[in-house]
Each structure stands twice: as structure tokens, then as C-alpha cells.
Symmetry: C2
Subunit: 458 residues, 2 copies
Amino acid sequence: MNKITPIEYFHKNRERMLEELKELLRIPSVSAQPFYKDDVKRCADWLINHCKKIGLIAEKRETEGNPLVLARTPGYKEAKYRYLVYGHYDVQPPEPLELWTKTKNPFSPVIADGNIYGRGTADDKAQLFMHLKAVECFLATGTPLPCGISFLFEGEEEIGSRSLETFLQKHAEDLSCDLVIISDTGMPALNCPAVTCGLRGVLALEVTLTGPNRDLHSGIHGGAVQNPAHVLCSMIAALHDQDGKVTVPGFYDEVCNLTEFEKKQFLNLPYNDEEYKKSLGVEELFGEKGYTSTERRMARPTLEVNGLTSGYQGKGGKTIIPSTASAKITCRTVPNQDAKSLQNKVCAYLEKICPKTVSIKIEKEQAGNAYLIDPAGKSVSAAIRALEKAFGCKATIMREGGSIPIVVDFKNYLKADSLLIGLSLPDDNAHSPNEKFSLECFDKGIETSIYLWNELVS
Amino acid sequence: MNKITPIEYFHKNRERMLEELKELLRIPSVSAQPFYKDDVKRCADWLINHCKKIGLIAEKRETEGNPLVLARTPGYKEAKYRYLVYGHYDVQPPEPLELWTKTKNPFSPVIADGNIYGRGTADDKAQLFMHLKAVECFLATGTPLPCGISFLFEGEEEIGSRSLETFLQKHAEDLSCDLVIISDTGMPALNCPAVTCGLRGVLALEVTLTGPNRDLHSGIHGGAVQNPAHVLCSMIAALHDQDGKVTVPGFYDEVCNLTEFEKKQFLNLPYNDEEYKKSLGVEELFGEKGYTSTERRMARPTLEVNGLTSGYQGKGGKTIIPSTASAKITCRTVPNQDAKSLQNKVCAYLEKICPKTVSIKIEKEQAGNAYLIDPAGKSVSAAIRALEKAFGCKATIMREGGSIPIVVDFKNYLKADSLLIGLSLPDDNAHSPNEKFSLECFDKGIETSIYLWNELVS
């Protein structure tokens, strides 16, 4: 009997693996809706059984919320190199159901047009499954793994990873590893696989101005008293200059600028301002002068108003001077910025520019730091090589403008960097109806994962 | 048998008149709520019967909405001088009921602390009733009236006087008169009766800015595209300068400035900035530089944001760049300004300062002109004399910052000025729980009305 390689094993077993993925997708593990509570648990159990079936040592770890799945290759603890694959088995709510067209039932996955459709395909079940299947290909063929691999799957990612941070804090030593591998992000296009080297952080606050102690009749009082909506608008207008730069003193002080290497790599990304404008339906893009739109989205800090509220908002009009006006504001932070101190700077500036004619109250909310793995480092280069082998084309690096707080937690508690190899495509409709995952990404993803382990240790 | 004067008759019959007023107040003629539809009609019928009872020729005039009450002194058409008393018999909804303390039932009027409490006391049943009772005092004592007096009471004032404008247009000739008398406004204090010589007009518009074609993830897109909430704030900030002046080109062009006479008279008004600040709960007043707060409230045009809406407004945060941002804006106009052309100026300016990064849509709503009766003219002087006789103190003139569109309609359709002799006090809680009317105002109001007719023709 000829020994076959992990890659060969994968191709022989692909159809069965897809059937298994469908089984996983059929479990409606919606973490946000109490209705699905038992399904979430059933999903954790399914994964544990599946991990055991393919030869991993797996256990359920209970938390105050949904259980964690922890599975390891045999001999993990003694391995010279140890990697932790993180993923999440919970999914977004499927609503609005009437907008699902490729499959009537979001939890009855179907294959069509080279994609697999269903809730949780791209985010994140198919992506975590790729790594499980890659390890199966080693174990089933008796091919030695060059490293220990553990899997940590949580069931609360879509509701803020409440239990995971506590778990990391408590079990940091037990979970120690050289690197965390995460496939829960995206790549720009099928012919452009990419490693995500940076994430922005996010800080939030809400500012409320109060003028008169009640809404006032704008006829009787209009002209005599400051309107807090006017003040709020003036203050928000003062937060940016005409070139799109944030005017908060010290806002850019700690920003780690993009290296020439990164700037050059970003040029490989298949982004096009004309197409981007069309997709957003805007005449012109706008942002901080001196940077490309890609640089601004991925590597520059921003300050955005997410919501404005004041006075009457119903149909028609109401002739009042509103008593209050408020704005929800978030900033995206970039590597080296300390989110908490930046939050303080924004608050201090708002307080400074607020006139005495109104009173100001600011509520500070979350403040999470950005993340950066060395884009020219060993781990990223290994991932690039694995992607290039699997996809047969040039791979590049990018950054993600959004925030994944758990990556910062891995750094804080496990002292481990995270390698973000996300294979979701921009049209995968994560969080939306008709969520899908490309079968080509699924195939190449498994191959990437098979190649990855040897590249990482080489 | 000695003939008695109208004033003597009033004092003899005051208690009975108060009982009649209570009867009128017990009818819950709430025009805004369909539940009270029959009561509104019953109220019109009650007034018609009452008018007939005191010797007027009265008839119900049906409209598409609630009926009008039209009543006249005998021989009205042949009278040399003819005056039209306008009032409204509909009232505001009584809610929130739990806040009524002086009477548990807003439609069970009670007398306490020298006031009569109940929905519709100040606004406007007691005030219209004063004029009816004054005329009764003439008719019952056989005292000749120096003029013809007609009464026009509508049942839709609190819902926009929908039917009255049509009625005025259709029956202008039949309704023709030398002057309209209205008691539906206020006076500053018991020892400061005042004739309201001017009203501000009001124009309204709603501006909506659209940026991207959907709310965008502020992580993925933040930095690349203009946020319409930022643009809206910058545009609104640009509508006023630091001195509180509106910056819309031509905004003040047609303003009829206050005469020295008016400015001097305004100094008689018992307004005090310190007390005013306290009542509004603000540290500082604010408004157009170069004018007192009274002048700004009564005789200067304003531009106020009445409502701001953009993005996420619920609890907590949502990290989006909103697709749209909108503001409801009204301007108070003053005498000589053409509201429609001012509305156009504001819209044109907003369109001019809107950048290309967002699209702008403006909906124009109402545009009503201000009103001014000659403050030094014959009618106002006559009213001042009547007030001074009745109240036994100096009366003055003032303006009202709010708008009463029907006054402009009287001018347009009947070519008649309106004399506004409002006796409601600032603490009468019109439109609020515990609405009341001072019995002293009721008494002096009837006396004022008795004196008024001879003063007007003298």
C-alpha cells in the first residue's frame, strides 16, 4: 500500500469533508438569540466529537457563557513548536429570512455557483474547518506534523467574546504557544491571497450637551438662549480640518507610520478608487490628505461620528430649541497609539472647546488598542509562502481597518502574536443574507493550512 | 328702577358668569383626539345657545372639519364701526393626566388660590368668554354699544386652523370688519397688562445629506469616505457667526428695525435676565450681539435647528459611518421679511456650502410672514387706555416671538388688522398640566372689554 501525502488525502476525501461541513452548518448556533441556546451547546459537542474522530485530544471547557472547545494534537505539550488555531463556532442571527435566495433556509446549506451558501459559512465555520481538515490530512496519512497544534473555538465571538478573555487570563500557562493562527478575516480577491498584519483599535465615547432645562418654544425663546444643537455642530465641525485631518491636539503623536515595505506591498492590493466610489455610491472619496484611500482605511487613525441625536425627529416639524444634543463618536486607532490616552485627549479637547452657554457630559466607552505583527517577519513570510503554494499566485500583505479585540487579548495574556490568514472574499455577505464561502477558497485554504506548518518551522 | 352700568352689572353677576364658564370648561373639546369628536361639536352648540341666550344672533357654520360659531350683535351689518372678536373653543389634549394636581380631572374645573384650573382655561375658553360677557353686560343693561360686534370661534386652532383659512377666503365680504380683536396671547405680569403689536412669522425646512449608499462599517471604510454627519455639522456651524448673527447672505436685508418708541416701551416690560436664566437653567444667555434678550426674542429673526438625526441613536454604540444625516430647521421672521424669499435664501446658502462629497436634498415646509400693527396707532392706543382703566396701572406694548398664522390670514383676506389683547400670565401652563387662568385677569378682562368698545370709536 502506497503511502499518500496529506494533499492527496485531501483531494480523495474532499466530498466527504464538504458533507461534514454541511453538517456543522446545519446547527443553528446563533449566540445572540436565547432561542438557539441548546443549538449553540450542540454545536460545541459536535465539534468535540469531530475533533476526537480525526484523532485530536478534545475537551469541552465550560464558561459562564457558552462552552469553549479545546482540542490538541497528541503530544502537543512536548512539541518544540506549538501553534494555537483560534476560531468561533457561533454565528450571526439569520434575519431577515426573506432576503435569503440561494437557500430558503440559512441553516440548510446548498452548493451553487462554486460557493457554499448558508449562515456561518464565511464567518467562521468553513474557515475554522479548513484547519481541522488540514490536520486530519496529516493524522490520517500518518504524516508527522512538525509542530504541536491546538484548537480553541469559542461560542461568543458574535456577542463580544465575553467569556474568552477571562479564560485566557486564568489559563494563560496551559494555553501558551508560539503563535496564534486565525482565519476569520478576508482577502481582497481570489487571485490576491493576503496576510493581515495589522488591525485598528477602536475607542468610543458619547458627548451630550445640555442647554435650557427643557425643550423651549422657539418662538417665545428663540434668539435669547444658545441652542445646544448649534453648539454640538460647531464642536463636531472643529474636530476635523479641511484636509480631513483630526484637529484634536496630539491625535497623531504616537502613530506608527507605514514602512516603505508596507506601502509598496499595499500597491499589490487590487483596489481601485473608481470602482470603490461606485460601490459606495459617492461622487468623491474624502479623507486625510497625503494618503491613499487604502492607506487611510488600513493604517491611519480616524474620528467618526456614528450617530447624532437632538430635538424632534419625527415627521413634519416641531418649533423647539432642543434641551439637549448628543453625538456618538468612535475613533479607530492604529499601532502604537494608546487607545485610553487617545480617548482622554479627545474628551479633553471637547471639554475645552465647549462654550459656557451649555453644559457638557461625556461618557467614555470601550478603548481597545490596535495590533501589528511584523509584516517582514518570519511568521508572515511563512504564511505568504504557504498561500502562494496553495493559490499558485503571488500573495501579499494588508491591514484590516476593523478591530478584533481578541487578538490584543492573545498578545496580552499569552504573549503570542496572531497570524491572520483570512480567506473570506469581499462579496461573501458575512453578517448578511446569502452568506457564502467560495469552494475554491475552501480547497486552497485546506492546502494552505497543510503547507503552513512546515513553512512555519522552517 | 335705576338703570345700572355694564360694569355694575358685571359685578352683580360675576358668580353666575364663573359658573357658566365652568360649564363651558367641562366640555372636553379636544380637537387633536378623535375620541372627543362629539364633545367638540357639543362645545360649538353650547356656545351658539349661549350666544343666543345673551341676545346675539348666532349660527353654526359647518366646515370640512369642526364647525365655526358666528354670532353678532343685532344690527351688526348697519353699524358704523364693526369689530370681529376671534377665539377658539377647542383645547389641547389633557395628557399627562397624572401631573394634574389642582384638579384630578382637567375637565372638572376648580377655583383655588385666585385662579380657575382646568384644560382650556387660559387657552382659550376664559379669554373668549370675557368678550362674550362684556357684550352681555351692554345688552342686558340696555346700554347702547357704540359699534357692531361679531364673534368668530373656531374649533381647530390647536390642530392648525385648517378650515378657517378657507372660510375667510370664501366669506371675506360677509366677515368684513374694521378690526379683529383677539385674546389668545399673554401679558408679562398682573401689574403689566400689554397689547401685543407684533408677531414673528415662521418658515421651516428639512435638509438631508446622503453620503455612502448604506451605513458603512467604520473600521473597514473609515478614513476613505466623507461622513455626512460631519458635513451636516460643518454646514450648521456655518449658519451663525460667533456673535450669534445668522450668516445666510441677505438674511437681515428686509428687517424692519424696532423704532425708538418701541424700544423704550419694551423697557417697561418686567423682564430680568437673571431671573430668565434661572428659569431656563442656563449659565449664560446667548444671541445676536447688539440687542437685549427681549428685543432678540420679540423682534429679531432667528434660525434654529429643531432636530438632528443621523446614524445610530440607541443605547451603547454602533461603529458606522452613517449613510445620511438630517436637520430640521426653522426661522422666525420679523415684520417686512418675506418668509418665502427668506426660505429660498436659506436653501440656496445650504446648497452653496454643501461639498461634492455628499448629496443634498432640502424639503421646504411652511413659510408664514410676521405681523405688525402700528404700535403708536389709534387701535393700540385705545386698547392701552381700556387696559389701564380696568387694571388701574400703566399698560404697555410688547411683541410676541411666536407666530399666529391666522392673524396674517385676517390681514390677507379681510384686510383687517388684529388687536392682540392677551391676558394669560406666564405661569398659566397653557398646553401643560395644571392649566389655569387668573380670576383677576378674568375680572379685569371683562372690564377691559367693556371699556374697549367706546375707546375704539372715540
